[in-house]
Amino acid sequence: MNQMPTRRSATDLDWDRVRRWGIYAGLTMAFLSSIGMVESLDKRLIVDPILSLGFLALLWVPVAFGYAATYEEAKEGMAAPEKGERDLIGGLAAGLIGGLFFVAFIAIADAVDLRGVFPRIGPALIDLLTFGRGTAVGGLLWLMISGLLGMFGGLLHVLPVRVRRAVTNALTAVFLVALVEIAVVDIFESLRLTVISDWIYAKNGGVTIAGAIVVGALAALSSVRSEGDAVVRFRTRYATMEGDERKRFNLIAGAVGLVLAVVLPMVLGGLTNELLANVGLFLLMALGLNLVVGYAGLLDLGYVAFFAVGAYTTAILTSPLSPKWTPMLTLDFFSIEGWVVMVVVVAVAALSGLVVGTPVIRLRGDYLAIVTLGFGEIVRILFLSDWLAPAFGGAQGIRNIPAAVAGPAEINGTKPQTIFYLVVIFVGIAVYVAWRLYHSRIGRAWAALREDEDVAEAMGVETTKMKLLAFITGAILASFGGMIFAVKVGSVFPSSFKLIVSIIVLVIVIVGGMGSIPGVVVGSLVLIGILGGPTQPGLLAEFGEFKLLIYGALLVFMMLRRPEGLWPSVQRQRELHQEEILQDAWLKAEAAADSAGER
């Protein structure tokens, strides 16, 4: 056998790359500061007095970019990349270059008044960025911080796997604990264990230093004992589970989910419940859109229309302020009246799915996306129009939507717990429907349709019928979302049903994993739960105005790095990555068989 091709020697650094990533780091930090992110997020503390979310938004940059600057892929048949001081030097250099650029930014911002162009770059920002000690000291500090953090990024390559995992897990754990502060405080309050939460969290918000140390240490300890990345391991195991085992697992997961869904709202406070209700509402829509986009492969950009239809139908049927000729029913789930409302909502949604679906069904790909986009806007504009104002109230919308009723309980937005329970029930139904459909003949037909419409037709798949079915099922799930939304808010306005809702639901599906039910759940939790919806705050409420920026950045990152989503469907994963792996496994098996035959 000939010698393995070697890489560059250990001291040889790819300086081009280090320089490039260093510059990116500096520009990113300057960008994040100039849009005002550091300043606005500074109010939220992560670790009490030392680290705020604003600074965290800056500090991750040199670490990540230092890591990227020295990252080398392990290649089969090549000697493993040597780790060592090279990585440290590279990381340090990238960090220093980044720091230099950032310091230059601070100096320029200090010297020149840029407020005309960048309203956020003012003395307050400079003061914050220089720690109140003037540009010279602040600049020096930043050079040091950025260099050290870059080196830390490089160091991550050098550390033994276990140590690295312990470090990253400890950091992640502290961040997560700070993230879910309001929920944890609620829970400990209901359990009357405020002693503990008072000790972990500081009065101004954020984890206390002692709390951070304990949480980090616990996370590090637990990760040292485990083999490999727990999440990845779990997902792989789940993907390879066979029929019965998986069924059992799903059952247990469902039961745990149910218990959580029943108990959590009782121990959580209003804000957290509101947040969970929003997660559920978007999850409901995402499950529906997942049928259309993920299963049937029909890119629908006007999905919000069905959400709007559900909300307006509910409003018209129940509100006393809707036109006189409409009934005034109560959405009482234990009486016939409530069921009438639901049946009408379903019927109207199905009909609108049919109306939108029929003309667009023959279009493919981009054309379908463009036309559905148009339809979504048309629906909103119809609700907004003066022409239909007698029915829909124009820009004023329809107000005074009464609470829904379930036996003795009133369900409305002032009691977010009740909304959450309602959402959970409908999400449960939606998950069940999606799951059953996926494993049915219809699911198979959708998959075939997504892959090759002509051949699917030749195999006897009723393509038109199947596409309409996807549209209609998706529309019905969205309309339930709309119904709950109407009850929750108590009023409906056209401005609640803008294009951005369609886009955010689509981003949930894409980021979570197209065609994957667990993926959509994870996507809603991460995006709506942490970042928040178009108008709904998430755990990081401070992100407010930067939400869409983060959504966009996340989408780009996911498309480049993990197009199959956070929790991909088994099929999608195969589509995007497994190709090479399978081909490889197959070639290897072939070679092994050949050499066995030779002997």
Binding site: R444, A447, E451, M459, G460, V461, R574, E579, L582
Partner: protein
């Protein structure tokens, strides 16, 4: 022969794509158990003929009959239900689905319980397919893809198998293998209607053949006669052999 009911019959079929006239007054009959081939050059309308049979293209006049019953204008699913299935041009597997999922789509319209059994039959015919069951169809070799495509078509339990240029894009040795398999399937009692440009090979296993030229049937005869036909030799078989 004439008192038997043809599995498939074209009665003066005309087909248009928009205003463009593709099939011009095509009439043909395929009887149970036959292996019939349709020869013709590029763009002569061969694939269009198969699409017309399946109802994916509706004739602008004339009728398509299956087992003596008029199927013109009926949806493709109905035609497939009547026992007609196709191996499309270039095989066109669902590339990102596994081999197994491909076979399952083949049985899409069936609701009986013998699907597993029929899958075993496909494995008996193509043991390689069984080995590749979990593999993504797009990563199969050309020969394997052909096997899966045939297997997928057989999964609907057809009585008439349509094949669109089965030799296209295959190495000569695979072409031979492929024709052997078609012959074998036909010997087992399946009626086969095969579209080919490789006239020599196709006629060597076929019972009868039609020759299509710019949408018109210009010749129709037994395979032996067609092989001996001077005009056809000149037009399609080349000078050699």
């Amino acid at each position: 022969m004439s008192d038997r009911v043809p599995v498939l019959e074209f009665r003066n079929v005309h087909t248009h794509y928009g205003p463009v006239h593709i099939l011009k007054d095509v009439s043909m009959q395929i009887f149970p158990g036959e292996l019939v081939c349709l020869l013709g050059g590029n763009a002569s309308g061969k694939t269009t003929t198969l699409k017309t049979i399946l109802g994916m293209v509706v004739p602008s006049s004339g009728d398509v009959l299956v087992d003596g019953e008029v199927m013109t204008g009926r949806p493709t699913a109905d035609v497939v239900m009547r026992g007609i299935s196709m191996v499309p041009e270039n095989r066109r597997l669902f590339k990102r689905m596994t081999v197994k999922e491909n076979l399952e789509i083949g049985a899409y319209l069936r609701d009986d319980d013998d699907v597993e059994e029929d899958m075993e039959k496909v494995f008996d015919m193509f043991p390689r397919v069984k080995e590749r069951l979990g593999q993504k169809a797009g990563t199969l070799s050309g020969g394997e893809q052909q096997m899966v495509a045939v297997g997928r078509a057989l999964m609907s339990r057809p009585k008439l198998l349509l094949m669109d240029e089965p030799s296209m894009g295959l190495a000569p040795i695979l072409v031979q293998q492929n024709f052997d398999i078609i012959e074998q399937i036909n010997d087992a009692g399946m009626t086969v209607f095969m579209v080919e440009q490789n006239a020599n090979m196709a006629l060597s296993i076929a019972d009868r053949g039609y020759v299509l030229q710019t949408g018109q049937i210009v010749l129709e005869d037994t395979a032996e006669n067609l092989l001996a036909n001077e005009d056809l030799r000149r037009a399609y078989l080349g000078q050699a052999d």
